[in-house]
Symmetry: C2
Subunit: 374 residues, 2 copies
């Protein structure tokens, strides 16, 4: 039986790059922030993975929508929304920031780009954070405009990314530090170019601000990348699990707090500033978390992709859930992320994972996985 | 070239009925409210359409997520969120309600179910209205819990729906009036059963409140429906355009206000109550709307599905956009919804539609289309 296709409509927003993605022979899609996101181009996710690790890829990540906060209270609202201390962030910096509600539940985990003292972009994961920010701004009567601007991120990822982006935007891109950005010009239009991206292979995210330039930008990067064997790509399940990158909606949801998501380092509960959910997180910290994101190495063969929670058990007792899993070609083993109950999350703990292919023995391990270099 | 498949993960939430949908040979999916929604089962949307009009279908509409408002300020918050007067709504009633932001822009268009004087479910279209409601409640310091409860709507639609649902829930369902609901029992669990649904063929939406009963409920309806030729289905593009049902995200977005969306009758601007966006809507009404949702009948053959805006022109001048289109087997013509500039939206106006298959002549017409009975 053939797999169901994705039905595309105006509601599953197409992007400035959608024609190019289609011309490249996209094999799979998902919908992310109500926007098309490709999931596969080659014969397998593993083929996409090796190309990403060896060469360089161009990714349509328009689905990373921006929530723009602008105005006198923009900095105040941004700080209210996250336990991460934003006071030291400088213009030209992006900071990864958990966003929590009043119960400490994760609402999103964007990168917050500081464009000016009174202007921020929250480059979001898959939830309409725009509506939370707008609701807060309205309800608290803050003097800030909360909008979704016309911004269409395009990522260039892989070991040859510097060479490709330098040919299009100039040699100065090599000096952009990790999670910093500069406003650079393409065909006379300025746009933030950041050293960031949802892989561990290095690269850039280009925040295109003019829809009509999309294909020209794609083509310019493509032409520049030919000598480096550039190809199409997208966030890759294998590479991101190997690299310890978490996916909102997969590895955690609003049911989880950032302390159990291993985001302690981004929760500055003693930073002397207020934010929504502070009281809840202080209480959780005091009582101790009940579960934690952990790595798993799973024995045996996994024929079925992980498309939902896989229960984890110890001696028949509930011990958590696997949230994402894949076969790692680099580690020659099945690897996974899981939300594991605190009593069973020690490194080396033996567990049973109830997969759609039957029970599998597994061991808890630290994240990120130790991936050998090529 | 084969069409891209939908990649399914935990993030594209599966439902209590997903196994059954899969077993029925689903051919297409979309993602709606971050939840799987099937789009086709038979060889074509037209085959699905005829089955829906002649017999009865069971639809997994879990993607109609519920935003629950509960507590002393629940009614106050619900009314703040919509220009529709909710004061006269009674327990057991559902009301279709545009939700707007402070600029009058459409955020969603749910059915609001009144479960108790202090408890409402907003059965939402495709946006995280939960976050808007939660942001408002927090910011305005309202005494209300805003949550997404475990509710998994299943629809039974088509001319034989009454017969099927009566066999499972009892004869009293025949007396449920349009947009009313009763809490009825299935296997000892009470759940709202409403006469409603996203088709014009009549039927019910069953708000299952226990995930674990999903397949039993599906199977009970399926068995009851065998004598009526029941089959799987989903909201059908052709049937809903013929019937004048609008789709949030397709026919309008937050860029549109309810007055241009033809929702005037649900905007009680002189109702003597306050709501967010009242000032903006009063101003829009005073100045007159700049565009309006209208029907179009389009000449010629349309080979390409409408997956984005199709520009509408009069003498080469911008006159709006087609937002949804299909071939209507009942009307033997191409029919469409469009957001048409006010100068060109008279019935009978000739326009040119720029489709992916080239320009097509079209005429503006009234909605809903006049569909002959079978």
């Amino acid at each position: 039986m053939s797999q169901p296709v994705l039905a595309i409509s105006r509601r599953t927003r197409s992007t400035p790059y959608s024609n190019r993605v289609s011309e490249c022979g996209v094999k799979g899609y998902t919908v992310y922030n109500r926007t098309l996101l490709s999931t596969q181009f080659r014969e397998s996710a593993e083929a996409d993975y090796w190309h990403l690790r060896e060469f360089v890829q161009i990714w349509d990540v328009t689905c990373e929508r921006q929530v723009q906060l602008q105005g006198p209270d923009a900095a105040k609202l941004a700080q209210l929304m996250t336990p991460r201390n934003l006071q030291k962030a400088v213009v030209g910096q992006g900071v990864y920031a958990p966003i929590v509600n009043q119960d400490g539940g994760m609402l999103n985990d964007p990168i917050i780009l500081k464009l000016a003292e009174d202007k921020f972009w929250l480059s979001i994961a898959d939830s309409d954070l725009l509506l939370w920010a707008k609701g807060l701004a309205y309800g608290m009567n803050l003097n800030v405009d909360v909008t979704e601007p016309d911004v269409f991120p395009l990522a260039v990822q892989g070991p040859k990314a510097d060479d490709v982006v330098a040919k299009v935007f100039g040699e100065q891109v090599r000096d952009i530090r990790f999670f910093r950005f500069e406003e650079l010009e393409f065909q006379g239009v300025k746009m933030p170019v950041a050293r960031s991206g949802w892989s561990k292979q290095g690269g850039f995210e280009i925040y295109l601000t003019d829809f009509s330039l999309g294909e020209a930008l794609w083509d310019a990067l493509w032409d520049a990348g030919k000598e480096f064997n550039i190809g199409p790509g997208n966030p890759n399940l294998i590479e991101r699990i190997e690299g310890g990158l978490f996916s909102y909606g997969n590895d955690f949801t609003t049911e989880n707090n950032p302390l159990e998501c291993g985001l302690d380092q981004y929760c500055h509960l003693d930073g002397g500033f207020d934010f929504i959910g502070k009281e809840a997180l202080l209480k959780i910290r005091e009582e101790g978390v009940k579960r934690r994101i952990r790595g798993l190495v799973i024995d045996g063969e996994l024929k079925t992709a992980c498309s939902g929670l896989w229960p984890v058990e110890v001696d028949g007792k509930f011990a958590g859930n696997v949230t994402s899993a894949c076969y790692s070609p680099a580690l020659k083993n099945n690897i996974a992320n899981g939300m594991i109950e605190i009593d069973f999350c020690e490194t080396g703990q033996s567990v049973t994972v109830q997969t759609p292919d039957g029970p599998r023995q597994a061991k808890i391990c630290d994240l990120p996985f130790e991936v050998p270099e090529l």
